[in-house]
């Protein structure tokens, strides 16, 4: 270069740029040039301002923290959200405004943040060739392999994590296992292969220890920043359209799952009651009117009919009475006529009397309205009485005519009437007593206020126990039948009789008493019947005998009786009955005939 410039002649004019520069910048004040001490002379010098670094970086021989170009400072906030990003310009000089949208995503991620992403592909200017073909075989294969490897890695790690770590331990779980360990890297140990035997023991676990690690729930981290929305904002909904889509809440007449309390008007509103207009047909009114009219008609008719009937009956009665009166009158007249026939004068009197009577009857018939009814009533009552007496007479006649059996039947029926029948017949009369009736069980009770105060823990609702011990008072019929002699050939009976044979004489019941078998476990076939023994010892006879002169026969008889009584007493003792009254013990067949009844002597 220098040789060439030497060859060429010198320029005639100076460089116009240089001229310009010299013109322009002659007036400016030059900034004070920072003089950086050269290497070797920097002891004690510290770069403080960014200009002290010049074009270079930090000075390694100056042992202070240096931040050339402000690089390396710890409090860097570019990666935090909300802080500013440096303006980035791409190769063409266009400012990349979508750096904000692309923050937070990996570099591989595509964020569509420009208007051109909205434009259909064929109309886009910046895309050259559009190839819509699917990628070829190799690419597909490569993708598949890559993906498969990645997925297998993940799944394998998951599987191995899930599998239990198999440490071979064939001993009991608590016993130590010994592992021969050969270190993998032989480089460090120059002594050659050194195998070690490791003894592994399970650490004892405290069973009562609570879990050591707290599983804490970590709240989800912030999601990736939202992508830019590449459509126009949703259009505002008109009021009409909003009103179209209003759905009222569902108030069911049958279900209310959450148990809401819904006011009644809302419940009815769900039914749609207020919306309908109830139309009632006119014919309903017509029908009801017609029914009312018809019923009134019918009532009138019935009333009139009854009136007519009454009148007819009245007339008939009157006619009858007239007849009767006429008959009576005639009878009286005849009687009067007979009397008057004997004495002529009486005739006139009777006729006069008759006339009087007629007039009386006439006068009676004159003031009809009040007396007639009373008379009719009286007449009816007399008729009823007559009828009753007639019936009674007939009944008496029948009863007298009946034979004995009929009588018995009738008596039985009359006596054996159930109370309901008596009520139906009207024969049941309640007890007529001046004061009201009380249940005798209410008197003399140990409970109630009249019985006095009780202790605190006295239970006053029930005074008597619920169950009276009915074990012994219930009658339980004996299963196999009470009499021993009924089924003589039966095995069970024989066995039973043998069992209950207390005096050792098999086949013969011995001196056992029927009803006293079984000893302590006596099985009753009927409730215990008691009979008062009239005279066990024959003391009555004895006393009776005392008044008379005692003869030897008498003594012996009394003695006999006494002995007999003793005998019976012994037997009763043997039977171990605890009753105060002696039970009637029937002697078995074997018993001596003289002892069948205690009182045979006299």
């Amino acid at each position: 270069m220098s040789s060439l410039s030497g060859l060429l002649p010198a320029p005639v004019h100076q460089n116009p740029a240089q001229e310009y520069d010299q013109h322009q910048y002659s007036n400016t004040v030059t900034a004070p040039i920072v003089r950086i001490p050269p290497y070797g002379e920097r002891t004690g010098w510290k770069p403080k301002k960014p200009e002290d670094f010049g074009d270079g970086g930090a000075f390694p021989e100056i042992h202070t923290a240096q931040y050339p170009l402000d690089m390396g400072r710890k409090k860097k906030s570019t990666s935090k959200a909300g802080s500013t990003i440096a303006l980035q310009v791409d190769a063409q000089g266009n400012v990349a405004y979508d750096a904000i949208a692309k923050r937070g995503h990996g570099s591989k991620e595509i964020v569509q943040a420009q208007f051109k992403d909205l434009v259909p592909l064929h109309e886009r200017a910046d895309i050259g060739e559009i190839s819509l073909s699917r990628p070829g075989e190799e690419e597909v294969q490569e993708t598949a392999d890559r993906t498969r490897a990645a997925l297998e890695k993940i799944s394998k790690s998951k599987i191995t994590a899930a599998q239990p770590k198999s440490v071979v331990s064939n001993n009991k779980p608590g016993a130590p296992t010994y592992i021969r360990y050969t270190p993998a890297n032989q480089s460090a140990s120059a002594e050659g292969v050194n195998q070690r035997v490791i003894r592994m023991v399970e650490m004892p676990v405290d069973p009562m220890e609570p879990p050591r690690h707290h599983h804490r729930k970590v709240p989800r981290g912030p999601p990736s920043p939202p992508p830019p929305v590449l459509h126009s904002p949703p259009r505002k909904v008109t009021a009409k359209e909003q009103a179209d889509w209003v759905i009222p809440p569902c108030i069911s007449n049958w279900k209310n799952a959450k148990g809401y309390t819904i006011p009644l008007d809302k419940r009815l509103a769900a039914d749609g009651r207020g919306l309908q207009d109830v139309q009632i047909n006119d014919n309903f009114a017509k029908l009801s009117e017609a029914l009312a009219l018809a019923s009134r008609h019918a009532q009138d008719e019935v009333r009139q009919r009854s009136l007519m009937q009454q009148k007819v009956a009245q007339k008939e009665k009157e006619a009858k009475e007239q007849n009767l009166r006429a008959l009576a009158q005639r009878a009286r007249d005849e009687r009067a006529g007979i009397v008057s026939s004997s004495s002529g004068a009486g005739e006139q009197e009777s006729s006069g009397r008759g006339r009087q009577q007629d007039s009386g009857s006439e006068s009676g018939s004159d003031d009809d309205s009040d007396d007639d009814e009373a008379k009719q009533r009286a007449a009816r009552e007399r008729d009823a009485l007559r009828k009753e007496r007639q019936q009674e007479r007939e009944k008496d006649l029948r009863m007298s005519r009946m034979g004995a059996e009929q009588k018995a039947k009738v008596m039985a029926r009359a006596e054996g009437r159930d109370i309901s029948e008596k009520v139906a017949l009207g024969l049941a009369k309640p007890t007529q007593s001046k004061d009201s009736m009380y249940d005798a069980r209410l008197f003399g009770q140990s409970s109630g206020l009249n019985s006095g105060f009780k202790e605190d823990d006295a239970y006053s609702v029930y005074d008597k126990p619920m169950f009276t011990h009915t074990g012994s008072s219930l009658y339980r019929p004996k299963r196999g039948g009470g009499e021993g002699g009924e089924d003589a050939g039966n095995e069970d009976d024989i066995a039973r009789s043998l069992e209950s044979d207390r005096f050792g004489s098999a086949g013969i019941s011995g001196k056992g008493f029927r009803g006293a078998e079984g000893g302590r476990n006596m099985q009753r076939d009927g409730p215990v019947t008691f009979e008062k023994e009239a005279d066990i010892f024959g003391l009555d006879d004895f006393n009776k005998a005392d008044s008379k002169k005692r003869t030897g026969l008498d003594i012996s008889s009394t003695q006999e009786a006494f002995g007999r009584g003793l005998g019976t007493l012994n037997l009763s003792l043997v039977s171990r009955s605890t009753h105060y009254f002696k039970t009637t013990l029937e002697y078995s067949s074997m018993a001596s005939p003289e002892l069948t009844s205690p009182l045979t002597a006299n």
Binding site: L132, R134, A144, I154, K158, P223, P227
Partner: protein, 251 residues
Amino acid sequence: MVKCWDLETNKVIRHYHGHLSGVYALAIHPTLDVLVTSGRDATARVWDMRTKQAVHTLSGHTGTVSAVKCQEADPQVITTSMDSTVRLWDLAAGKTMTRLTHHKKSVRAMALHPTEFTFATASPDNIKQWKCPEGQFMRNFEGPEGVTGGGGIVNAMAVNADNVMFTGADNGAMGFWDWKSGHQFQRLDSLVQPGSLDSEAGIFCAEFDKTGLRLITGEADKTIKIWKEDDQATPETHPLDWKPSLMRKRY
């Protein structure tokens, strides 16, 4: 619970346990032995089919994940959700590659093209077509009767190798679209079977079979219908009236 059935014996042979609530969609990876399921717990779970282990839990969605699809190349898993986003996932890492926020309402259906490297998603406001692997927005499918072809809520989508896309809506409206141009060339209303109410028309799921000649739809009137191409149709009988829209497009 996700169950694996043996079709020879008609029995359940495996359970995949891990989803917290209802499972809405399922996809099997074409090359790996991996199953991806998604559901109401806003996650998609990746299961190793053999070991029944949940290998990845693809979380990040904030609403029910309504559809999942798997393909052999990156992005290997694509999920759409009722929080109106679509996410493209990196299966090896288990992380989201891209989030597509173009939809306004919940995205209920998705379909992958069998031969092209594209897919489509449908929501009540729009049906959009996308290009893999970056998820670049390609076009909106626009029908003459409305944005979703008169459907409203699109429940099911399926794509043919002949570039025929089918969308089945909640009200029984079926739309047939041309994949390449985005034009709806046919609109049908599914007839309910006799005995069903007219309001019981709706399509819940739809698929083209392997040949692409038959479309199978599962519908709300308790029927499964199989559809085929009409042989007698000609451009004269069924004219294709495509009119470019003069309206300025807003995105």
